[in-house]
Amino acid sequence: MNSNQTADFIKVDNLKKHFPIQKGLFSRKLGNVKAVDGVSLDIRENETLGLVGESGCGKSTLGRTLIGLYESTDGSVFFEGENVCSENKRIQKEIKKQMQMIFQDPFSSMNPGIRIRTIVGEPLIVHEKLTKQQLRDRVASLIELVGLEADCMERYPHQFSGGQRQRIAIARSLALNPKFIVCDEPVSSLDVSIQAQIINLLNRLKSEVDLTYLFISHDLAVVKHVSDRIAVMYLGKVVELADCNAIYGKASHPYTRSLLNAIPLPNPIAERNKTTIELKGDIPSPSNPPFGCRFHTRCPEAEEGFCEIKEPDLCEVCAGHWVACHKCS
């Protein structure tokens, strides 16, 4: 791999993923759930890009489409200059080795019927022809890398706690020495104390093995802790993308501001005196998103006759700070 330019490590260009709604005897197509609807962003090498948003806004779908787990409806993803959705099977296989994923639920992401040795070694079995001894050694070193004892290889998943299982899942994702890992809410099903352990492990691995993360979460505190940059998604679109400090310091998009406003303050007096930004209503259906700015139905700052007519583009308001809002640009 020759390209070490940090700018174009991963480039997502107008990516769309629509799921058809089918019904009836002949599977008539009734419409599309536009889970991801035109997302453009880039991920720099060796950074952690946090991806936040409400449930159902398309965070996970974006992550999965990004690594080629779902076929994209439109748009493209480039990994080090190579198209992830490439027709060429060989290139696709090479790229897949470089991109891995950690799932939210460490209980369902492992086959309960097979041993840890096989779970962690599965990527190696698929991609590399190793002897039994080599495989054992590799698996043992991976397990030690994530802070578990190597002798747990012969055990089954149900013999481990949630945090341990998530470590095993991390070990599995590291097996092929990937450069990019999508962490799909890797800590949201764990206890708070375990969350810290796993996040520290991910941070340690990032510097030790040179990783780049897309860290999907709805927990803003966690994202703040791990991310270099943060992208905020709403209804299939990125509405704000900026450095971690910029997001938490001077968020521009009304949606981001309301998200941050919802974090309770540690000081009870300040919490009591806080002016809350309360959003009206529910998140609209992604099969029928509102016309114009998608957020205008709930936006406290929406201007009639303007926001519901034209969809705002993602514009750079100041260096490295992108916002999709008419009010800000």
Binding site: I67, L69, G113, T118, E122, V126
Partner: protein, 301 residues
Amino acid sequence: MKTSSLAFSENSEISIVSKKRKRKRRFNSGRVSGIAGCTIVTCLILAAIFAKQLSPYDPSSQSGKPFSPPSAEHLLGTNDIGQDILSELVYGARISLTIGIVASIVAMVIGTTVGLLAGYYPRVLGRVLMRFVDIILIIPFLPLLILLAAYLGRSLVYTVLIIGALIWAGTARVIRSQVLTIVKQDYVLAARTIGASDLHIIVLHILPQVLLLAVGQFVQATSGAILLEAALSFLGLGDPLQKSWGTVLYWAQVRGVFLTPAWKWWVLPPGMLISLAALGFALMGFALEQVINPRLKNNSK
């Protein structure tokens, strides 16, 4: 039913107790039927294996006067050419059970393969296969069975294949529905992220989890296969050289025994053996299903 609903409305504590008792009774019923089924099947299989030692005479040679009623020498009498009926039945167990078991192994293999494919590729292949399964399920078995047997000829291999080809559809359905739920699990998705091939995913993640289900289906299918074999042989479409229980009945029918007093020792015993074998496998399958079937498992929780 009535008492438990009453208890529920009156006192939650009582309802918990009655629920517990209910679960226990249910568990026991599964166990009793399992033990009964295993006993029956084991006895029959042992009889088939040790047929030579158990049967008093060679079933294919004349050992007494034709049409003799039960006596000390011939416990179940003799048939129209003087062969000992008891010996015929003991040896018949070999044929009946072999055909039943092999046919349902065939059915299990076909059903599991079709179920796996239909569940793993649900869009096009799955739809085509499941419509085919529907057709197989709709077709009345016996007429088709007779037609096929008459067309292909009377041999052991064909009998096995015909029966196997007709009873796999239920297995395919059960396996498919299980595969559909497994495919949606995160660990299958994780395997896809790794870049694992479909074959790898099926062999490592899916097959081991449906295998138990397939075994349960196999035991239940055996019961049906034995009955179908008996029906075929009774109609004279079995292998004429291999006498099964159904064949014994066929000859009894041909010789008009059904209308004479001889039915008590010539018709009743093979009929009961067929029922017993079918019952044994059915009971075993019933007990197995209570342990294996994920839907029943969830209900009992």
